[in-house]
């Protein structure tokens, strides 16, 4: 089964660019990514630019509304994702727990819908 691990963290509280903590976090992410690539578990995965770069679009009737900012203001922001191929939820949860941000933010695990 394919699972998306959706990574949330508080941008204000997590390691900031240019700090040694950020350097460590990047290293942890690289090590984790390398491991899941080698195991053939990783299908995709990317970090996102900070939420300050987000733009939200809504089409109502024929009018397109474009607003600055994320879809919803929340304490934790979407920061990145992985798509993993796992045999079941237990395996996906075990990988999700190893995503470095899980140690201070949260990772939501959702199965990807399959049409058969």
């Amino acid at each position: 089964m394919k699972y998306m691990c959706i990574i949330y963290g508080d941008e204000a509280k997590q390691p900031q660019p240019g700090t040694p903590e950020m350097g460590q976090l990047m290293e942890d992410y690289m090590a984790f990514t390398k491991d899941i690539q080698e195991k053939g578990v990783m299908i995709a995965g990317d970090p996102l630019q900070p939420v300050a770069t987000a733009t939200t679009v809504r089409v109502r009737g024929s009018k397109t509304e474009t607003t600055d900012g994320p879809f919803a203001e929340t304490k934790e922001q979407l920061g990145g994702y992985y798509i993993l191929e796992c045999k079941d939820l237990d395996e996906a949860l075990a990988y999700a727990a190893r995503i470095p941000t899980a140690a201070f933010g949260s990772v939501e695990v959702r199965p990807i819908m399959v049409f058969d």
Binding site: M1, Y3, C86, K87, D88, L89, D90, A92, L93, A94, R110, P111, D116
Partner: protein, 418 residues
Amino acid sequence: MTLASLEQTQIAVRDMVREEWGHVLASLVGQLRDFALAEDVLQDALVAALEHWPRDGVPTRPRAWLLQTARRKAIDKLRRAANFRSKRAELTILHELDRQTRQDNVDDTIADERLRLIFTCCHPALAEATRVALTLRTLGGLTTEEIARAFLLPEPTMAQRLTRAKRKIKAAGIPYTVPEPDQWAARLGSVLSVIYLIFNEGYSAFSGDAPTRADLCQEAIRLGRILTRLVPTEPEAAGLLALMLLHDSRREARNGPKGDLITLEQQERSRWNRDLIDAGTRLLDDALAQGDPGPYQIQAAISALHAQAQSFAATDWSEITLLYNELYALQPSPVVSLNAAVALSYAQGAEAVLPMLSTLERQGALDSYQPFHAAHADILRRADRKPAAANAYRRAIALTTNMAEKRFLEGRLNSMLH
């Protein structure tokens, strides 16, 4: 066959169905990997049993009969399904199993399947209330209506909860497996806490106006027995069963004639069920002998000390205090501190524990926890601090939903005001 004996057979069949439900369902879920389908075809097989057995007699191996009939119903259903192509692998397996069942003994494999099913039903990816309902439905064989009644919920609400759970199991890929060694302890903990929740739901609802809820205690004990047979080397599983048996031994004695709550102190100890006490104590001794004590074994040991005491005054409160401290080391929670304080108040006097209770009150974690205010009130009463006790009783009463307990606390409040 006469009408009377037909009816008798039907009752026998119904009883057997209740007993066999969890066994057969576990096996079907394991083979079909589809909760909803397994339940559907088992239901169909039961309808067939109710039709055939009264007429042709109950088969010598009813479990195997039900399993085989249900499996054939599944084959029919899968064949008719639109996505036949993707189901072909499952069909081949089912046909193979169908051939095998005629010779082998199904009971051993079913034991493994039931263990897997318990872990699935108690998976932490499901909400706690859902785990409870699902465990009662699939392993306990209770009907949706019975579960709804026991939890005082409308039947459609409970049915929806169960349907959603089965959908999530399938869609999210919650596995039918025994957890890996590194997850075993945490996942077994979830299973134990689900069973204990079921027990407590029944035990705290002792009042006569909800008799069906007492059945939840029996159901939890039955599940506890199943679990101890499935994981005989887990002392905490035995500890939980011992704890439930020991608590249950006092059920009669804590029920007053008007459905009132009788506290441990005032219970007539001759009304305690000696058989349950003996069974619980034996189980606990065997568990403790394995040398790996855990929270359930410690709580059972506390309950056993109460059971052994000739009277409330003769209770070994110092030993109970020590056990609560041991429990606190494993489970540092304010509720355990509260219990330790109560035990100590009997060992050393109510006055001695007032500072501990003040600290707990200041920390605020137990602010809306009814038992804290009830215990605080009682200790203040015994320390002769009437106005403070009256205040604590008022707070306890405001948080009490159980009518019998409310009456009891109001009585105590009154005696503080005169």
